[in-house]
C-alpha cells in the first residue's frame, strides 16, 4: 500500500536554502544527470515512455511519445522550451516549485535536452513571478559554474545553453504555440496546427514544449526507473502529482499524492472545509475544467477519472468554494477573465466572450431574464469546438457546468425580472 502523500518533487522544499546548488547536491541533486549522460539518448526517451509520464501542463499528453516525435538526424537545431507561464486560474504549483527547487527543473532540462538532442533551451516564465525568475537565474548561473551547463557538460561532449525568459502578462502565452510566437518576440497568438512544434516549433525547428512539473519529474524517473514511477498512481496516469488546494479549506497548500487521489482524501489532509461551512463547488484542474460539486468528492483525480465524471484533470488546481459563494457570480468573474485574455485572433472566442460577460454581468446585477440562460448556452455552443485554440473551449466550461449543476441559482437571479423585462427586449 502506497502512503497517502508521496513527496517526490516537493520533498526538498522543506530543506533550508533548498534553492541553492549546495543543498541540491547534498540531496542527490545532479546524480541523475551523470547517469543519463552515460546512456544513449534513445534509452532515456524509451525509459520516459515506459514510465507512462504524462504532461502536467493540463492536457496530459504522454511525454516520452512527444520526445519521440522529434526527428533525429535531420540536420536542424532542436529546442526544448519549458512552459512556466502558469496562468490558469487556480494553478499555483510551478512557481513554488521553481522558487524552492529550481535545480530540479534545470537537471530535468539538461537530461531532456540530451535525450532530444537540443543544445538550446528556454524557460518561459510569466513575468509577474519576479522572485521565481531571480531564483532560476541564480540557479542557471550556479549550474554553469559547476559545469552542468555550457560546453562539453561533465566531459560528455554534450553542449547546452539555457536562457530564463520573462513573459509580459498574457495568459494565452501558456498555450504552447502562442508561447513560441511570444518567445520569438511576437504577439502571443496561437499558430495553426499542424505543423506541430515537434516538426516546426521555435524558429521553425523541431521543438519540445513541456510543463515545469513534467520536466522536474525526469531526474526522479532516471534515478528510480519506470517501474518505481509506476508504483504510484494508476495504470494510465502513473506517478505522483502536486495537488494545489485553495479557497475555503482549513489548510490550503500544495499536497503531493499519487495520481487518482480524491478530493475527500485531500480535504481530510487539509483539515476539512474552513470553519465547517459545507462544500458547494470546486474545480478539479483550474477554471477551464468543468466544475464539480459535493457529489464528486470520491472521483479519482487522474486523467481518466476526471474525464469519466464529466470534467478534466487539467492542472490539479483544486479551487474550493463553500456555500456562501454564488455560482453565477463566480462564473461571471471567470468569464471576465477569459474575455480579458482572449487574444482576439478568432471570432467565436473574441466576440463570444464579450457577449457572455455582458449577459452574466446583467444577470448578476439582477437584470437578467430567464431567456438569458438559453442565450448563454447558445453562445457557448458557438464557441466550444469552433475556436482556434483551447482557450475558447476553456472559457465555456464554468458556464455550462455552472448551469448544469446550479441552474436554479441562475433562474433565481432572473425570475423576479422576467415579467417586467421580458417584453422590453
Amino acid at each position: 500500500m502506497v502512503d497517502s502523500l508521496t513527496p517526490v518533487l516537493t520533498k526538498r522544499w522543506l530543506s533550508p536554502r533548498s534553492w541553492t546548488i549546495k543543498t541540491y547536491e547534498q540531496l542527490e541533486g545532479y546524480t541523475a544527470l551523470r547517469k543519463a549522460l552515460g546512456a544513449h539518448p534513445d534509452q532515456i526517451i524509451q525509459q520516459c515512455k515506459d514510465s507512462g509520464l504524462r504532461g502536467r501542463g493540463g492536457a496530459g499528453f504522454p511525454t516520452g511519445m512527444k520526445w519521440g516525435f522529434i526527428p533525429q538526424g535531420d540536420g536542424k537545431p532542436h529546442y526544448l522550451v519549458i512552459n512556466a507561464d502558469e496562468g490558469e486560474p487556480g494553478t499555483c504549483k510551478d512557481i513554488p516549485l521553481m522558487m524552492a527547487d529550481p535545480h530540479s527543473l534545470i537537471e530535468g532540462i539538461i537530461i531532456t535536452s540530451y535525450a532530444i538532442r537540443a543544445n538550446f533551451a528556454a524557460i518561459y516564465v510569466r513575468g509577474e513571478a519576479l522572485h521565481c525568475i531571480r531564483r532560476l537565474d541564480g540557479a542557471v548561473k550556479e549550474a554553469y559554474a559547476a559545469g552542468y551547463l555550457g560546453k562539453d557538460i561533465l566531459g560528455s561532449g554534450f553542449d547546452l545553453d539555457v536562457v530564463v525568459h520573462a513573459g509580459a502578462g498574457a495568459y494565452i502565452c501558456g498555450e504552447e504555440t502562442a508561447l513560441l510566437d511570444s518567445l520569438e518576440g511576437k504577439r502571443g497568438q496561437p499558430r495553426l496546427k499542424p505543423p506541430f512544434p515537434a516538426t516546426a516549433g521555435l524558429y521553425a525547428s523541431p521543438t519540445v514544449v513541456n510543463n515545469v512539473e513534467t520536466i522536474a519529474s525526469v531526474p526522479f524517473i532516471v534515478n528510480g526507473g519506470s517501474d518505481w514511477f509506476r508504483t504510484m498512481g494508476r495504470e494510465r496516469s502513473p506517478g505522483p502529482k502536486i495537488y494545489s488546494l485553495s479557497g475555503h479549506v482549513t489548510r490550503p497548500g500544495q499536497y503531493e499524492a499519487p495520481m487518482g487521489t480524491t478530493l475527500r482524501e485531500l480535504l481530510e489532509l487539509a483539515g476539512g472545509m474552513k470553519d465547517g461551512i459545507p462544500l458547494k463547488f470546486w474545480t478539479p484542474g483550474g477554471s477551464s475544467t468543468p466544475l464539480f460539486t459535493a457529489d464528486h468528492l470520491d472521483v479519482p483525480l487522474d486523467f481518466e477519472g476526471a474525464a469519466e465524471a464529466g470534467s478534466m484533470l487539467g492542472t490539479t488546481a483544486l479551487q474550493i468554494f463553500n456555500e456562501t459563494v454564488s455560482v453565477p457570480w463566480a462564473v461571471m468573474k471567470w468569464t471576465e477573465f477569459y474575455k480579458h485574455e482572449s487574444c482576439g485572433k478568432c471570432t467565436p472566442c473574441r466576440e463570444g466572450t464579450y457577449w457572455l460577460v455582458q449577459i452574466l454581468q446583467r444577470m448578476v446585477a439582477g437584470n437578467g431574464t430567464a431567456s438569458d440562460i438559453d442565450t448563454l448556452l447558445d453562445v457557448c455552443d458557438n464557441i466550444l469546438g469552433r475556436s482556434f485554440c483551447a482557450l475558447g473551449d476553456g472559457a465555456v466550461s464554468p458556464i455550462t457546468s455552472g448551469i448544469k449543476y446550479f441552474k436554479d441559482e441562475f433562474l433565481a437571479l432572473c425570475d423576479k425580472n422576467s415579467a417586467v423585462l421580458a417584453g422590453a427586449h
Binding site: L5, H40, Q43, C92, M99, A100, E128, L130, A166, A168
Partner: protein, 249 residues
C-alpha cells in the same frame, strides 16, 4: 526603402550607453535576435517607467524592426505600461478565488484610498506624480499563481500573501510615506523600474536578493504532513538500469 530607415523623429538620448550595452547583451542570448524583444521592452520600461514612443523606437533600432512591429507587440502584453507608472506598481488579484476571499474588497478599498476628490482611482491610474517618491499605480490583476495564499497582492511583482483590506491599506499607506515593507516571499522591495530591470534579466550585484524563505508555510504543507506521519514515496532500488536502446524501425 526598408522600413527601418524611416526617419526617427524621437529623441533617444534617455537611453544611455549602459542601456545600449544591455540591449546588445540581450540580443546575444538568443539564437535569433528578435527573441530579445520582450526582455528589451522590460529594459526600456526600467529606464522610463513605461514603454514610450522613444522606447519603441529604441527597440526597433536595436532589432532592425519597424516601429509598427514593435508597437504591435508592446500593446499586446499587460505588463508593458503605456503611461508613466508610479514609484510602485500595486497589483491586486481579483480573479475568482482571491475575489471570493476578499480580493475585490481589497481592490475597492485601495481605489478609494488612492482616489481623490471622492473619485476612486481607476485601473492602471496613478496616485501622485508618476515616478516621484510615494507615487503609486494601482491595477487589478488576473490569477497570480498564488491561490493557496490568497487573497494576494503584489508590489513591483513581489508577493504579499494572505491579505485583508486593512493590511493592504496599511501597506499602501507605508509605501506612500516612503517606507518599503518587506514582501512575504521575495527580495527587499525596491521600485517598479528596478524590478523591470531584473525582468529584463539583469541582476548584477543583487545576489543577496536570492535569500528569503525557500517557500511559504502553505507551500510546504503537504510535505510537512507527510514528514510528520512518516509518509514517503516508495523507495528506489540502487541498481536501476535503462531499457535497451530501441531498434530503429
Amino acid at each position: 526603402m526598408t522600413q527601418t530607415s524611416e526617419p526617427s523623429t524621437v529623441d533617444l538620448s534617455v537611453f544611455d550607453e549602459d542601456t545600449v550595452a544591455r540591449a546588445r547583451q540581450l540580443i546575444s542570448r538568443y539564437p535569433l535576435s528578435r527573441s530579445a524583444l520582450l526582455p528589451m521592452l522590460h529594459l526600456v520600461q526600467s529606464v522610463e517607467g513605461y514603454v514610450s514612443q522613444a522606447g519603441i523606437a529604441f527597440c526597433a533600432g536595436q532589432l532592425d524592426l519597424s516601429n509598427a512591429e514593435v508597437s504591435a507587440v508592446a500593446t499586446f502584453y499587460t505588463m508593458y505600461k503605456r503611461k508613466p507608472c508610479g514609484e510602485h506598481l500595486v497589483s491586486v488579484c481579483t480573479n475568482t478565488l482571491c475575489a471570493a476571499l476578499g480580493g475585490d474588497a481589497i481592490f475597492a478599498k485601495l481605489r478609494e484610498h488612492l482616489g481623490s476628490e471622492g473619485k476612486p482611482l481607476g485601473q492602471e491610474e496613478t496616485s501622485g506624480e508618476p515616478g516621484t517618491p510615494g507615487s503609486i499605480t494601482l491595477e487589478h490583476a488576473e490569477c497570480l499563481a498564488a491561490c493557496d495564499l490568497g487573497p494576494v497582492l503584489q508590489v513591483n511583482y513581489e508577493f504579499y500573501d494572505n491579505q485583508t483590506p486593512d493590511k493592504a491599506l496599511e501597506l499602501v499607506t507605508a509605501l506612500q510615506a516612503g517606507e518599503k515593507p518587506a514582501p512575504t516571499r521575495g527580495a527587499p522591495l525596491t521600485d517598479f523600474r528596478q524590478a523591470e530591470l531584473q525582468l529584463a534579466g539583469f541582476f548584477e550585484g543583487r545576489e543577496s536578493d536570492l535569500d528569503g524563505p525557500s517557500a511559504a508555510a502553505e507551500t510546504v504543507r503537504g510535505a510537512r504532513v507527510a514528514a510528520d506521519n512518516g509518509w514517503t514515496a516508495p523507495s528506489m532500488s540502487d541498481d536501476v538500469a535503462f531499457p535497451p536502446v530501441p531498434e530503429k524501425k
